[in-house]
Amino acid sequence: MDSSLRKLLPWFTVMGLLVGALIVAAFYKDQFREWKIWQRVHIKQELARAVSDAQREAALRIPVEIRQIVLPDLRRVDRCITCHLTVEDPSYAGFKQPLAYHPDHAQHPIEKFGCTICHQGQGRATTREAAHGHVEHWEQPMLAMQYIESACAKCHLPSDVPNAPKLARGRVLFDDLGCIGCHKLQGVGGVIGPELDGVGARHGAEWLGKHFRNPAAITSGSAMPPIKVGEQDIEALTLYMLSFTGERLSDYYVSMKTIPGADAGRRLFTEKGCMACHSLAGVGGKIGPALDEVAKRRDTKWIIEHFRNPQAVNPGSIMPRFDLTEQEMRALTEFLLTKTDPNIVGFLRIPALMTPIQRGQAVFKKYGCAGCHGAGGMGGVPNPNAKTAQQVPSLKFVADSYTKDELKKRVLNGQREIPSLNPKGPPPPLYMPPWRGRIAEGELGDLVVYLMSLMPKEEKVTF
């Protein structure tokens, strides 16, 4: 035993104890988990309300453990119920979080849907902060309740969801404002702006709201004109954007795309072309019977069976079997049995029954022309440094400067280079994309008729 070694001897014990203590400390730190607190609170609560020995025993049997809902089809594991232990227990209605009850589970059983598919946040996390997702490196924090309706659109058509007015409004605004003119969504739309698939996963509500009000302030060099709508509509639009999470859900979840209700039924009634043979309020075909008073003659079951196999319930019927899903049948039935609106036909907007101008207006909307040319083609959308008063030109007077064929060519070919007001400045960001190959021939004809009709009558007289 060397004297220098002897000096080191006490360090042996010290270092051994230090390593041991560090391991114990690491383990102890790991053992402290905040969810354990809430599980004990829950057990205490159960014990307090137990009235019989059996109930007391049952309360004591509740294990303290991490709980989770494994959802392979949603690619999720939701551990929210580790703290939110009572989401399915109605006796906890009115309790404070996390021990609160979540009403209305009937349509969305928790073992099939979990929590984060609607509420977002980090399902796998077991700490409050990380689970609610307001942490670094987590892209989808919990959705604020004011935007919760956006989650419905992951599975359902936005127009079909009952009690989701903001979502429906957002969908309408999306069409009316012509977003699709510049942006692609699921492969459809313009090329000037970025694609919108997954935009709801990339950006939060705050970013989207600010961006709508002043795009260039958030994304420098953005060509997008500010969206000039009220606060409520900004919120609705933001909410609709948040629904574009880019997630692909499995069949089970998207099978309920159409929520069977009268609204969906009305939409299907036009889409499936029922009016070709049947009539409502005297409008439509005469091959099949009029459907105005079908509710007096038939019940739900009969109509659904009839959709399934017309000849089985009505031998000799010439109605073909349509390839309808169960939900579509139920939606159409609901519509047929409840239509009470006397102006029903006005709502239906059946192309064959519309004037070319009406159809052209629909085309104008379908391709998002309003996004650049303004609502109704009235202009007013800024396009910095464009020769045309730094705006996208209004379409009010196209009838003056173009023939129908010239206008068709203009739409088909587009115009990539927009003349600059100041040749030294940056080129104007917005331009006319070519629509060749994207717009159908009949649609183009209708569109041109509509555009020509924009010319105010009295000014034509003075000419």
Binding site: T13, G16, L17, G20, A58, I66, D89, P90
Partner: protein
């Protein structure tokens, strides 16, 4: 300084060595224990031992097999009970007999009567019956960690 005398460990050295080894062994044992605990999973990606089934009315009269939880729910009127479908012999999944009474195992031919007692074959024990309760939102809860006697029914 006489180095040969000094070089032999003295009593003090010995005590320090022993305490050093004890500390090191403690560290080793602690890391071993931590590693062993690490290996014990805290969550499982299999069906919950406390399995939430559907509402009582969703089950028909007789036996219904729940594939996730590998058990049978048996209904007789308003009475419900749940039995494991895992053969006590070597863990195969047992089948419900076609005549509606009892179970049999397709692997090695064990036979169980309607109370899951062994009536034939190599199975050493009856199939266990599990505690069934009703949750507050009216669904059946089967707790596979709580065994009960076969005559214990949940009456709804």
């Amino acid at each position: 300084m006489n180095s040969t005398v000094n070089n032999e460990p003295n009593r003090r050295d010995f005590v320090q060595l022993v305490s050093g080894w004890c500390a090191t062994l403690f560290a080793l044992a602690a890391s071993g224990a931590a590693a062993a605990r690490f290996m014990m999973p805290n969550v499982l990606y299999e069906a919950d031992r406390r399995y939430r089934a559907l509402k009582p009315d969703d089950y028909p009269e007789g036996a219904t097999f729940l594939p996730d939880a590998r058990l049978f729910v048996l209904r007789k009127g308003n009475s419900f009970r749940a039995v494991s479908a895992v053969c006590t012999h070597l863990g195969c999944t047992v089948l419900h007999n076609n005549d509606g009474n009892g179970f049999h195992c397709p692997c090695h031919g064990s036979q169980f009567n309607e109370n899951a007692a062994v009536t034939g074959g190599p199975a050493p024990k009856p199939l266990p019956w599990y505690l069934m309760t009703l949750t507050r939102d009216g669904r059946l809860m089967i707790d596979a960690s709580q065994e009960v006697k076969p005559d214990k029914y949940l009456v709804v």
